[in-house]
Amino acid sequence: MIPGLHHYLIVSALLFSLGLLGVVARRNLFVVYMGLELMLNAANLALVAFSRFHNNLNGQVMVFFIITVAAAEVAVGLALLVALYRKRQTADVEDLTTLKL
């Protein structure tokens, strides 16, 4: 069966829900973060698939931008995590429920 747009979208959907699972289920902040990255990549995949099957490159430009933003986001996110860790010596979600550091 020739892999059409549907297949790619299904893969991206599944990847997205895996990422979501990571965010909701895991208690370690880093893994939550990775789940987030996964969801981003799922979106990229869908975009590229669309640009391929709709024969215009806008999708790819979008992906390019997304990757850059993701990079910036990881930088800041990890900085936050570092600061958080230095303050509370933990990266576990359960300990950080006081809405105030």
Partner: protein, 655 residues
């Protein structure tokens, strides 16, 4: 500015319709009010002037009513009315009506009032609020005249309540005394219960007959006796309820003995002669209601066998007997007279009830007039005794006053004889007429009448023998001396009508009013009763003599204490405590009201204020607390909620 305009309108109204002679009635009515208002506002400090103004006002009113009595006599005439409350369909107005009944009553009220006022210049001499007393008395006279002259039911009700208020003010005159405060409150409230019934009666009559005017009502009833249809009986009873309140008939009599807390002139004027008689007067005024066709609404079917009039007779008879029995064992001089008034009023009401059968209530009016005379004298006599014995009211602390206060003694003797019903005096003739009507209508009540006469003579002679004869028992009585002339002169003046009234054809004059056709039995008045209805006359006389002899045998030799009470034992105890009716009322009616108000208060505090209002506030609070739980602070929850809502939105969008 407004007030003047209204008064001017009324006066101008009177003038432009030709100042008829009967407009003097307006003068009679308004004079005491003006005096009362004037004294209260302008001369509260000046004792002499305020007394003079008020006495002058009442005496002038007496003279005017005397002229009216001579000019009009029996004819019925109307003075120009003042349209008080002109609303569509309800033409309530202040109209004055003069006829045999009202002119006679005018004389009685103004006459007794002026004598009482003169008397109280002496009695109240050293009282602090002297002028307030006189202005309130004038206010009372104004309201009483309003009742006498009223030509429609609503005006009757208006002045009914004004009389209630003035009696409240007068009974509570010495307001420092807690007992006076309670007595005045009790009097006003009991009257109010009577007025409640009275108002309902007026409403029933107005809605059925369409008019409030008594004369018009009478014509309509004569034209169509079944006008009130099934409501006749109830209307009659409700209006009688008003009379019960005012004339202290059985269930609503509790306030009269306590009303003795007021100064004695007040008791003389209000609780002997005029106010209590207003009930009987009103019954005579609307007498035609009771002679019309009786009828009861289906729901009160059980009463069909008996008419409103017979109920009135029973209540009257019972009150007479009941009060007379209590009077036998009372020791306070004013309480004895109060119960005697109660009993005489019972007789009058009984006479009206019985008169409904024969169509002639003149007997009760006649007795009302004579009773006003000698009872006022007795009260004033008692007042002068109390005044002399330095406010001592217990007869067992008096004695031997015959020698110390001759004038008071002789007038008191005449009063007692008249009350007992000995021939030459007025009491005999009027009581005889009642006994005659009772004999003719219903022999049982004739028996009641005779028994009441026996008891009346008994307790009055007991009072006379203990207080005036024998040796003085208390030091107050010991150095009592005759009261000043300003008090004894009115006593003497009042003695005249007690004796002389018998010779005036008042009986016939009144009979003419109730049955125009009925031939007034003229001829010799003195022995009339003996040859018209000998049985009634002889029974009356016999009863009086028997009563006196019984009293003499017990109290003749001036005993120290009441020999009768050990003999009667428990019964005496009950009589002293007025058969515990007051205690029943206090024990039953008052707590019931308190209970009701307590229930209402708790409902108000808990149910409405609590549940409804706080409930609402509570719901809001609970909702708030529930939502707070959602903010757990853990990222997982937020993420999950986020996903769930995204999912929901997507589903909705896709559906």
């Amino acid at each position: 500015m407004e007030h003047a305009a209204a008064a001017a309108a009324a006066a101008q109204h009177a003038v432009e319709s030709g100042s008829k002679v009967q407009d003097l009635a307006w003068a009679i009515l308004v004079l005491p009010l003006v005096m009362a208002f004037g004294t209260a506002v302008f001369t509260p400090r000046d004792r002499m002037l305020s007394a003079a103004m008020n006495i002058g006002g009442v005496v002038v009113a007496f003279l005017l009513s005397f002229t009216l009595f001579c000019v009009f006599g029996g004819q019925s005439v109307d003075a120009t009315p003042f349209h008080w409350l002109p609303v569509a369909g309800l033409d309530a107005r202040i109209g004055l009506h003069l006829d045999a009944l009202s002119t006679l009553m005018l004389l009685v009220v103004t006459g007794v009032a002026s004598l009482v006022m003169i008397y109280s210049t002496g009695y109240m001499h050293d009282d602090r609020s002297y002028s307030r007393f006189f202005s309130t008395l004038s206010l009372f006279v104004f309201s009483m005249l309003g009742i006498v002259l009223a030509d429609n039911l609503l005006m009757l009700f208006v002045f009914w309540e004004l009389v209630g208020v003035s009696s409240y003010l007068l009974i509570g005159f010495w307001y420092e005394k807690p007992s006076a405060g309670d007595a005045s409150k009790k009097a006003f409230l009991t009257n109010r219960i009577g007025d409640f019934g009275f108002m309902l009666g007026i409403l029933v009559v107005w809605s059925l007959a369409g008019t409030l005017d008594i004369a018009a009502l009478k014509e309509k009833l004569v034209a169509n006796p079944a006008l009130l249809g099934p409501w006749a009986g109830l209307a009659g009873l409700l209006i009688f309820m008003g009379a019960m309140g005012k004339s202290a008939q059985f269930p609503l009599h509790v306030w009269l003995p306590d009303a003795m807390e007021g100064p004695t002139p007040v008791s003389a004027l209000i609780h002997a002669a005029t106010m209590v008689a207003a009930g009987v007067y009103m019954l005579c005024r609307v007498f035609f209601l009771y002679t019309a066709a009786p009828g009861w609404p289906a729901v009160l079917g059980v009463l069909d066998v008996v008419s409103a009039a017979s109920i009135i007779t029973c209540i009257g008879g019972f009150t007479a007997l009941f009060a007379a029995v209590i009077a036998v064992q009372q020791d306070d001089i004013k309480r004895i007279l109060a119960y005697s008034t109660l009993s005489q009023l019972g007789l009058m009401v009984m006479a009206v009830g019985l008169g409904a059968k024969t169509g002639d209530a003149s007997a009760s009016m006649y007795h009302l007039v004579t009773h006003a005379g000698f009872k006022a004298m007795l009260f004033l006599g008692a007042g002068s005794v109390i005044h002399a014995c330095h406010h001592e009211q217990d007869i067992w602390k008096m004695g031997g006053l015959r020698t110390r206060m001759p004038r008071t003694f002789w007038t008191f003797l005449i009063g007692t004889a008249a009350l007992a019903g000995l021939p030459p005096l007025s009491g005999f003739y009027s009581k005889d007429e009642i006994l005659a009507v009772a004999l003719e209508a219903n022999p049982i009540f004739f028996g009641v009448g005779v028994l009441v006469t026996v008891l009346t003579t008994f307790y009055m002679s007991r009072l006379l023998l203990v207080a005036f004869l024998g040796k003085p028992r208390g030091e107050g009585a010991d150095h009592a001396h005759e009261s000043p002339s300003s008090m004894t002169v009115p006593l003497l003046v009042l003695a005249i009508p007690s004796v002389m009234v018998a010779w005036l054809p008042i009986g016939g004059f009144l009979a003419h009013h109730f049955q125009p056709g009925h031939a007034a039995h003229g001829g010799d008045i003195l022995f009339g009763p003996f040859n018209h209805n000998p049985i009634a006359a002889f029974f009356g006389l016999g009863a009086a003599i028997f009563g006196f002899s019984l009293a003499y045998s017990l109290y003749g030799n001036g005993p120290a204490a009441d020999p009768l009470s050990p003999r009667l034992g428990l019964l005496a105890q009950a009589m002293r405590h007025r058969f515990y009716i007051d205690d029943i009322y206090d024990g039953l009616v008052v707590p019931l009201h308190n209970l009701l108000s307590q229930v209402a208060d708790t409902i108000d505090r808990w149910l409405i204020a609590g549940l409804a209002v706080r409930g609402l506030a509570g719901v809001v609070e609970i909702a708030g607390r529930a939502l707070r739980l959602v903010q757990t602070g853990s990222i997982q929850t937020y993420a999950f909620l986020l996903t769930a809502s995204v999912l929901l939105i997507v589903l909705l969008a896709l559906k």
